[in-house]
Amino acid sequence: MRLEPIAAPSPARRIVPPLLALLATFAVATLLALIAGGYPFAVFGLIVKGAFGSKFALLETLNSATPLIFTGLAIAVAFRAKLWNIGAEAQLYAGAVLTVVLGTGALGLPAYLMLPLCAIAAMFAGATLLLGPALLKTRLGVDEVVTTLLFNFIFLLFVSYLLEGPLKDPMGMGWPKSARLLPEARLPRLVEGLRLHWGFGLALIAALLVWVINTRTTLGYEMRAVGQNAEAAGFAGIPVTKVILKTALLSGGLAGLAGFSEVSGLKGALTLDLSPGFGYTGIVVAMLALLHPLGVVVAALFVAAIFVGADSMSRAAGVPSYIADIMLASALLFMVLAILLTKFRVRRD
């Protein structure tokens, strides 16, 4: 077989494969639910109910989508320039660490400066962490996939050390847990009385900003050009190395904000289970969104709904909640294939 580009894909060409990809994902989930002894329709019904069935469930979904919007944006920005940042998990924790350091009053900041400085510090931490692998890539040609992945393990061990050492809460009964943030370092609720914090608002703003950067600025244009063909971009006079480094700063900064938002908006302190893999799930979010920043918001809500829904379904139906992870991984693989099929025709030879 070989692939033949389609010059002008028809509307059906562009819509049918992605729809089939979603169907295939649900087919996989149906099969798995059956294997586990659940009734597929009941399982899906419980997932939807668990994600959207009540005001509490809906707010829980929005809260869970928040870090995924940030990490999804971080990945989307990087992947668009073909910078394979798989280290959003570590960058998230880096942002969380600096948020905790400043937010527990290490510098004695005035209250009105606290939140902005925590956010900036979190971005700085995430960006710095990705700058290392990005420099290794541009200077020495070291593949950033492996370095960013390995940094995830290294940084989590570092956080573990911090939580048992310098950042350990003296009142924490021996648990590896940081002290709680000062009240002025906590993100307020978006609407008074509702359990939804400003992190969600910030995430929406961030998505909008990334969209503006992508479509309205020279950097956005350059990042796209480098991603499509770095050699040609260099030939056309685009400073490829600089663009890659700027992409790294933006991507790492966004992932750092995820850590800030989780600590300051939701948890109030740092523990080793702050992120159940938001950095990795962000890859799925970004790919499902076709790397489009506004699509990231939609994809993050979809992914968060499946996670939150599967959690409550699991308790009710006895089907392991890992079904959510499987659905997302298969959605990712089916979707990249579907997108290819919107642009290429398969020919036998």
Partner: protein, 314 residues
């Protein structure tokens, strides 16, 4: 105990070889994939799946070698998924690999929960026991280190020799290497680049899964969720460190494992009382990055690595 005593003790080297064994299998698997031109980032998930599949098969009553076979088949099936997406369809090998790791890992955890819904700690199996090779195991230092290992470790070294033999001394190996260097030339010979690459990814993935199964069937006797713990990613670094050559990759794995064994022992010495244990645990990952940095300039990367081949397109 100081450094010198550690390095001269047979138990240290025995541990190093033991730690190296799963890495040898998985590194060889990755090496075969990359030699044919496909970066397989599914390795981490395939190792998790292999560790589980081999263990659950033995728990269900198969003999140990049956477990190894089940792990291998599981890995080959996952390799088939990877190869279909990455070879004929030529999708991004980064995305396919990460996606496959997520898929294989979550499928494994799901199956675990379905098969063993009520257990708080996973059941144990009777793992491979060390087999002392007559005469050779009596040699000083080398004997206990190299020749008192489990059969699966010996299998790893035999596999490394076989891989080198096939890659460098057979037409098949030449075809695999050429598919990773100059696929157009392979196609011009009338061979199918697609078939060669898919075959390499499927076989390589089988080896990775056996590497995972070493953990549950030989190194330990049970399955834990975070058991593989980044070993797959380390193997990717080891392939680069070994300059895509089986012999060098095995040496790299042993060297790496020796450092790992050393950090475990150093934790119990005076240094371990001062330095936090996390620093020791970080060392293997730092070492991998360092290996990548040092070798980045020197290594000869297969020219067509990560370049999809579409016939009729020049």
């Amino acid at each position: 105990m100081d450094l010198f005593d550690i390095l001269l003790s047979a138990s240290f080297w025995a541990a190093a070889i033991r730690i190296a064994s799963p890495l040898i299998f998985a590194t060889l698997g990755e090496l075969i994939c990359e030699r044919a031109g496909v970066l397989n980032l599914g390795i981490e998930g395939i190792m998790v799946a292999g560790a589980f599949a081999g263990w659950i098969a033995v728990w269900a009553g198969l003999p140990l070698w049956g477990g190894v076979a089940v792990a291998m088949l599981t890995g080959m099936m996952l390799g088939l998924v990877h190869s279909i997406l990455s070879v004929p369809f030529g999708l991004s090998q980064h995305v396919v690999g990460i996606g496959l790791t997520l898929l294989a890992t979550s499928l494994t955890f799901y199956t675990y929960r379905v098969v063993l819904p009520e257990v708080s700690s996973p059941p144990k199996i009777t793992a491979f026991q060390p087999y002392e090779i007559p005469l050779l195991s009596d040699l000083p230092l080398v004997g206990p280190a190299l020749f008192s290992q489990t059969p699966l470790t010996y299998a790893g070294f035999i596999l490394a020799a076989l891989t080198a033999l096939v890659l460098y001394r057979t037409p098949l190996g030449l075809a695999v290497r050429a598919a990773g260097e100059n696929p157009a030339a392979v196609a011009a010979q009338g061979l199918s680049v697609t078939a060669i690459r898919m075959g390499a990814v499927i076989v390589g993935s089988g080896f990775m899964a056996v590497g995972g199964a070493f953990l549950t069937l030989s190194a330990f006797d049970s399955f834990f969720f975070d058991m593989v713990n980044g070993r797959g990613w380390i193997c990717i670094a080891l392939v680069v460190f070994g300059a895509w050559k089986p012999g060098k990759a095995v040496m790299g794995a042993i060297l790496f494992a020796a450092f790992d064994a050393l950090q475990i022992r150093l934790q119990q010495t005076g240094i371990g009382a001062v330095v936090p244990y996390q620093v020791f645990l970080m060392l293997p990952y730092f070492l991998s990055i360092l290996a990548l940095v040092v070798m980045s300039r020197r290594a000869e990367i297969p020219a067509a690595l990560m370049v999809p081949f579409n016939k009729g397109e020049r």
